[in-house]
Amino acid sequence: MKKLLLSLVLISSVLASTPFAVQAAERASKSKASVEDRAKLVTDGELAQWLVRVLGLSRFLPASPSELECFQILMQNNVSPADGWQKDRTVTMGELARVIVQGLGRQAEVESPDNDASWINFLKEIGIDFGTIGEAVSNLEPLPQPVGPEAIITSTDPLSKLQRINPPDNQQLGADLSTFNRITANPSDFVNAPVTVETLAEVVNQVQRPPDRPDVTPN
């Protein structure tokens, strides 16, 4: 019990103090990023990493997901550029508008989905005008129904395999599929379990009796 309480206190301390640490770390390192680096064009891979966080998908992924892992989970959540994700491609405004609309879950409202300008116009119509990727992404919120590999994951990596224990009713890419962990830990629970009258009656009734009484031969 002490271990449980200690863990709770430690974890809660981390949860409570992290926002303060975030600001401190942000202030400390902001000056280190050179103007040149910050002006660099954004690639699909960087945009995908950003979207995964803002759309609330990080919890389905390892602590530091690869770009492909980000692409995969965005595709599973129906967020994908017209011609797919490409790691080193520079993000265009048309592509950005498309994934922002998809992140808002409003792609069905775009009149001409094949035309990039329609996606940009749609954003303007709903009052989202953006000049940078940061402005565009700031309009996003965590998805109302995020899907991800929560209940079953096949990764064998000890640094990224999914937690094996979850309370009931976690989803597997949208379908409720609880993690299976039936903890009858000891096979002897059943081997050594005492037999009740009811169980005994069930077993006895299943035993086949001889069809006829055997003949008795007098000595």
């Binding site: 994908s80 129904q145 937690q163 009713d169 000891n186």
Partner: protein, 398 residues
């Protein structure tokens, strides 16, 4: 456990609220409260092979989500308490679960980054009593997982990652805890190389140490392997990893086990309205059953998501797990004998799961949903069972 989890819930919720309050004052942030309410029916509450009991139940899930997105830093926090009430489940007709996730990512420089991920699960699963026999011990538990990765971009095409992970599982019931509590420590290094725009490879080395309480089923495992990530087409992406693992059991009688490990993952979008995902993995894995120290585990899943209309979505998922247990990878001697386990045998377990869920979007913040899920458990070591659950629900974003 009830008072512990309730107290824990207040502490966790308080922590999140402190973070929310601070974030609201100082930063651009998003904060959401979601609610998911379901009415369900379970045809096998006690997960038994015979004399099954069915029950209706209610599930109330609240979810608090906070995202704090700064220029070089991201913080995500999520807390979800879940209350379940059962119409026909003795001796305990309620469960109270807690899930908390915290994600912190910071770029110190454009090349150097740190990611931390904290996962906490506290769940109540009551004792199962079947025909007067305790079929499952009271296994309320606390599960905590802390991940950290330090990444350094050596060049535009090369990235080096150092990772560490600590996992702990602690049961509330002392008898279960004495054999099944564990701590897992893992560390590793990954070198990723972008070969072409569509192709990346990596090489990796991992060390994992498993320590169980009680009789020693622990082990030290070394992994050495490589992986490939490929964008096959705009609609198809996938990855494959594989290598060798050497598991050195702490119990000297069990020696060392060498095995390959591998996993494959694919995502395919056959149309703008349809998404398919699948995966397959095989490795040596920590054991679910005492006194076995290891299982050879194979996992596979296939999922389909389809937008039937702009408002109606259908999700299907199927999964299969096979676990193989060997007597020569189980502890023996006094510990096992005292538990009446002298006659252990090799054995397989198979778990099949199938689930379908449909979700109808009433408006931007409200969804109705219906689902059915089937589970079949077949074991040569434990009691088989089948379970069906049907649910109707309402999900809303406050």
């Amino acid at each position: 456990m009830k008072w512990t989890t309730t107290a824990g819930a207040f502490v966790l919720a308080g922590s999140i609220l402190v973070g929310v309050g601070y974030a609201a004052e100082e930063s651009s942030q998003s904060f959401q409260i979601k609610n998911r309410f379901r009415v369900g029916w379970n045809d096998n509450v006690y997960e038994t092979e015979k004399n099954t009991e069915e029950s209706f139940y209610l599930v109330e899930e609240l979810e608090f989500v906070l995202n704090l997105d700064l220029e070089q830093t991201f913080l995500g926090a999520r807390y979800r308490p879940t209350l379940m009430l059962w119409e026909n489940r003795e001796p305990d007709d309620s469960d109270f679960h807690h899930e908390a996730d915290l994600i912190f990512a910071h770029n110190f420089t454009p090349r150097l980054s740190l990611s931390l991920k904290e996962t906490l699960r506290i769940a109540e699963l009551p004792e199962l009593i079947d025909r007067g026999v305790i079929a499952r011990e009271n296994d309320d538990y606390l599960y905590n997982l802390l991940d950290g990765v330090l990444g350094y971009k050596v060049s535009d095409a090369t990235r080096l990652e150092l990772g560490g992970r600590y996992t702990t599982l602690q049961y509330d019931n002392s008898e279960v805890a004495s054999t099944d509590d564990y701590d897992i420590y893992a560390a590793g290094v990954t070198l990723r190389q972008q070969l072409q725009r569509e192709t990346a490879i990596n090489v990796e080395a991992r060390m994992e140490q498993i320590e169980y309480d009680g009789p020693d089923r622990g082990s030290d495992t070394l992994y050495v392997g490589a992986g490939l990530e490929e964008i096959f087409s705009p609609n198809l992406v996938g990855s494959v990893r594989g290598g060798l693992q050497r598991k050195d059991f702490s119990n000297s009688d069990l020696g060392t086990e060498d095995s390959p490990y591998a996993d494959v993952s694919l995502t395919y979008l056959p149309s703008p309205k349809t998404r398919l995902s699948g995966g397959l993995g095989y490795s040596l894995f920590e054991s679910d059953i005492f006194p076995y120290a290891n299982q050879d585990r194979t996992l596979a899943f296939l999922t389909l998501a389809h937008d039937l209309t702009a408002r109606l979505q259908l999700f299907l998922a199927a999964s299969y797990q096979n676990s193989v247990y060997h007597t020569d990878e189980s502890i023996d001697g006094d510990a096992a004998s005292s538990d009446g386990l002298e006659n252990l045998a090799d054995g397989d377990e198979d778990v099949w799961q199938l689930s379908a869920r449909s979700s109808y979007k009433l408006n931007r913040n409200n969804y109705l949903e219906a689902q059915i899920s089937l589970l079949t458990f077949e074991s040569e070591l434990r009691e088989d069972f089948d379970r069906t659950r049907v649910e109707l629900g309402w999900r809303t974003q406050l």
